[in-house]
Amino acid sequence: MIKKHMAAACLLSAIVFASAASVAQQADFPRKPNGVPDISGIWQSLNNANWNLEGQAAAQGPVEVLGAIGAVPPGKGIVVGDSIPYKPEALAQREMNFANRRTEDPEAKCFRPGIPRANYMAHPFQIFQTDSDILVTYQFAGALRTIYMDNHMNGPIDSWMGWSNGHWEGDTLVVEVGALNPNWLDRAGNYYSRSAKVTERYTPISPYHLQYEATIEDPEVYEEPWSISMPLYRRVEEGARLYDFKCVEFAEEIMYQHLSRENYFRERGIELNGDSNE
């Protein structure tokens, strides 16, 4: 059963890869002196995957007081085969995540988003392709990761952005990501555990587009590996750059408000006197 699904996923990848590669050749993608595609630049996705990888119709968002600003936009999602093959008990956890999403989504807390989520947030990210390794910096939370092109090793310690080993397969940058902390995949509560392994494929399909695919394996959470696929768009406007989104200060209210003097004593029914430090 699992083998059959993996074969289907591989076949699908092969088809996407083949068509993508032929387009890239026509499109004359910029290249490094050693011949590999030069994927340096500022990239961004354009979909609603960060709201729900599996896609959904428009809906009220988690914070009703924001009105239509807080509503969930509609979208088909980017999961290949439409749904994530959760184990039954893991599906229950996803539902619990969803119920608590306003305060428990790591994005709400300004935690580093992990991989692949960092690639489909509503923020640009920048790829720097050096003589050896590749650095990817994300606007969200100033998160970053090095993709090690030489000296591959297993991640020495788990981290939010994981440990990335990369290599080229033709014109496709293949990145194997491991040593990830458990994290959420979107605002709908989809998630992976610390046993997750993510294999990413970045394939140029025009000078301005990369096809991005990622296969997520996590035997603790899913019945079988599954994949996402979406285009990444080059930010072409003049002067495009990343800016600070140091979101810690936007998350402090939900994380620490119970410990502010004002709230702490109000919750205990204690009125602070005028001569206090307030």
Binding site: L144, T146, I157, D244, K246, E252, R261, S276
Partner: protein, 337 residues
């Protein structure tokens, strides 16, 4: 703690310093690694850890450099101070276990310099005079802080909140521990990643004006260009919310301008010089210099905010103390009615 180990470390460190002296004096640009497009290589892992103080002790006056003998003596004394035994039962005895990894600078690479202070201009090696407006702001800030620093997460320091370290730069300065940097480099960019806050400072090398496409940024807006083998970086566009290192209440104002010069002088060393000009805060510019030294990689993700138990514990502790005071005296200050 083993005395033998202490002595061993000191001897090893002294030997390292002597080697560094000779390495520095023989610097030859011919040894310098270059990128495939011909610029000096800055990419790699570096430390700015140093025993050089930011400001020079007043008693040293305008003495800018120590003699090699004085450096060796000072370093020996410094290392022994960091390892000093403390007496059980005294407040001084409540400290980190200095043998623990990363708690002692004798365990990490330390840059070498004969400087008596990082600041070399003004010539007394100290911050210049603050402007009258800056002094007034600082007094106001410190008065506010005395009364309100425990109010909530938002009133704690920027570094405690995992927003920024004052030493992240620009100008870059050494931290008490973990002054590790990863520098990455392409033909078009240099990116400086400080391990401790683990975020990038992206420096485009187009020589443009840092005010182009700028918004106020925590680390300012940096633009760089090569002057011969020296990377020159200009930064403006600060938020006005960050502190001058070791000088809480004196910000890098929104008018601050920082000029930095990175020169790789040999296989193991980058010479780093900076000048801060900020007429809102300082009556004169101030400049500093210290070396970066190579260290082994890789660099790790320092997820400060994700693991910030500290701020929760600090605020919980203060609230508990206030509650105890209130229950005992009717006032959270514990002074009674």
């Amino acid at each position: 703690m083993s005395k033998n180990r202490l002595l061993g470390n000191t001897m090893l460190a002294s030997a390292g310093i002597l080697l560094s002296v000779s390495a520095l004096s023989q610097s030859e640009s011919g040894d310098m690694p270059r990128t495939s497009w011909g610029d000096p290589v800055l990419q790699g892992y570096w430390t700015s850890s140093t025993f050089i103080p930011l400001q020079r002790p007043v008693e040293l006056g305008n003495k800018e450099f120590f003699t090699p003998e004085e450096v060796a003596e000072n370093t020996r004394r410094r290392m022994n101070t960091e390892y000093a035994e403390t007496e059980a039962g005294t407040p001084e005895d409540v400290h980190y276990q200095f043998d623990d990894y990363a708690m002692n600078r004798t365990e990490e690479s330390v840059t070498f310099s004969e400087r008596t202070s990082i600041i070399f201009d003004p010539p007394n090696g100290r911050y210049p005079e603050l402007t009258e407006a800056a002094k007034a702001n600082m007094a106001e800030y410190n008065a506010w802080r005395r009364d309100h620093q425990w109010d909530s997460a938002k009133t704690r320091s920027l570094s405690e909140r995992c927003l920024i370290w004052d030493q992240q730069g620009p100008p870059i300065l050494p931290l008490g521990y973990n002054s590790n940097y990863q520098f990455m480099q392409t033909e078009d960019y240099v990116i400086l990643v400080h391990e401790m806050m683990n975020e990038p400072r992206i420096i485009p090398l187009d020589g443009g004006d840092p005010a182009e496409n700028a918004l106020p940024q925590w680390l300012g807006n940096s633009r760089g260009h090569w002057e011969g083998d020296t990377l020159v970086v200009e930064t403006t566009g600060f938020t006005g919310r960050t502190n001058t290192p070791n000088l809480r209440g004196a910000p890098m104002s929104t008018n601050a301008h920082v000029l930095e010069r990175f020169t790789r002088v040999n296989e193991t060393t980058i010479d780093y010089t900076f000048t801060v000009t900020d007429p809102t805060v300082w009556t004169a510019p101030w400049s500093g210099n210290f070396p970066f030294r190579t260290i082994d990689g890789p660099q790790f993700e320092y997820a400060c905010h994700e693991g910030n138990y500290g701020i929760v514990n600090i605020l919980s502790g203060v609230r508990r103390e206030e509650l105890d005071n209130y229950e005992a005296t009717g006032s959270i200050d514990g002074e009674g009615e």
